[in-house]
Amino acid sequence: GHDLFTGLTRLGDNCLILGHRVSEWCGHAPVLEEDIALANMALDLIGQTQLWLGLAGEVEGRGRDADALAFRRDGWDFRNLLLVERPNGDFGQTLMRQFLFDAWHAPMLKALEGSSDDRIAAIARKAGKEVAYHIERSADLVIRLGDGTEESHARMQAALEALWGYAGEAFIADAVDTRLAEAGLMPAPESLRATFDETVNAVFAEATLTRPESDFAHQGGKQGRHSEHMGHLLTHMQWLQRAYPDATW
């Protein structure tokens, strides 16, 4: 029960926090088509958040719905990867963060379609369709900007170097992951690494980007140890629910 709750909040919190970050771009994108695409991505991710956290609340059985989980939990109760809480930086960093996430997210959802829990499989099928489009788009843009001008190449390479240390966390299992995998509820994290590597290697090659040598991975997000950025994000995200706890919206 509690393992499943943790696993589901990991899925939901990734979508929530990344969706939040992406939504910060609204009205500030480098080109109008990207304003639209980024809003669309944020929208998909918020929709997926509703599903995952909704199910998490149901599994928990303590009467918390998706909104309660999103807007009333403390920072240390969030279970998202450190990657998704990284600040937006320039458009290159936002894009690279998205691509690294998508390259894990797509095979993750694919694997979740085979979950022994039908509710998980159903959500994964729905989300998987959206994410198939996300990875197509982010890979394409990484290639175009990696193999664009000298400046766009340099910025994409810098983004890759800044973010690569946050790509590995998703593939490192802890005891919860292991138990969830044994129960057939969710895939073993490390089982997704090969597909991820294949995707990113192919895309980096076409984008003329160099994959960093060190595979050092920052960890902690999945266990609730976040970065300083997370606290600042929550002051915005949870503001109204915290400031006016008696209100309905």
Binding site: S23, P30, V31, E34, T149, Q241
Partner: protein, 311 residues
Amino acid sequence: PEKLAAFQARIDAGERIEPKDWMPEGYRKTLIRQIGQHAHSEIVGQLPEGNWITRAPTLERKAILLAKVQDEAGHGLYLYCAAETLGISRDELTEQLLSGKMKYSSIFNYPTLTWADIGAVGWLVDGAAIMNQVPLQRTSFGPYARAMVRICKEESFHQRQGYDLIRKMAEGTPEQKAMAQDALNRFWYPSLMMFGPSDKDSVHSTQSMAWKIKINTNDELRQKFVDQTVPQAEFLGLTIPDENLKWNEDKGGYDFSEPDWNEFYEVLKGNGPCNADRMEARTRAWRDGAWVRDGLMAHARKQATRRVAAE
């Protein structure tokens, strides 16, 4: 002159003018100005609402607001495309916006200060916009009229969502009610200003109406808006901030106070609460995004070269 008469005859007959058709230079210029300004308004209009996306209080409200702002960007896109058929590029239009040569709707120079403002923008600002735009579905220039059909449909959806949001606030805790009333207080007169000064003070109106670029007078539309909105406010239990507001049986509409036109002209001059912030945000987005646009162009050129080489 003959051409001109024929052109006017087509318009009078209710025909649509299409991009390849002959048109007078003034018609083209007026349309570019009007469509461009409208497109810019959609783009700048993302900002006051975007201001609350990261603070939306529920996941559903966040999704609704995201979808709305996305629609606005989409409207901007249709309209820039419509303007492009008149021979001006999106980049040229953008540069005219950023240099201050072209304007956007002054309403977006007002701030969104509480969550209720997001409701007020939907209810009042989109409400006024629709009032302006519905007749434009019958405007004489084809691409513009068709863009308007699509836009109006989405806008009226936004307006209902805005009304629903502010209704929740008006029915909520005392703080929420206060926010709702405060939002109405601050957005009422700026919304009335959206129809522009009285037509008797407006220079371009006569020609634009003859060309069917403009269909109704500003005062007609403003009256219609007030008549539609007052009962909605009453239903919410909110008070329109106008002591002179009164039903006038004779004219079958409300009497109401004029907005402060001095304020209108100050905002137009750049002295609104947010003019500088809005332009700074757009200028920064444009400037910081230059490397992305350049990178995409460079890649496209490389690809084209590679294709040729491979042939």
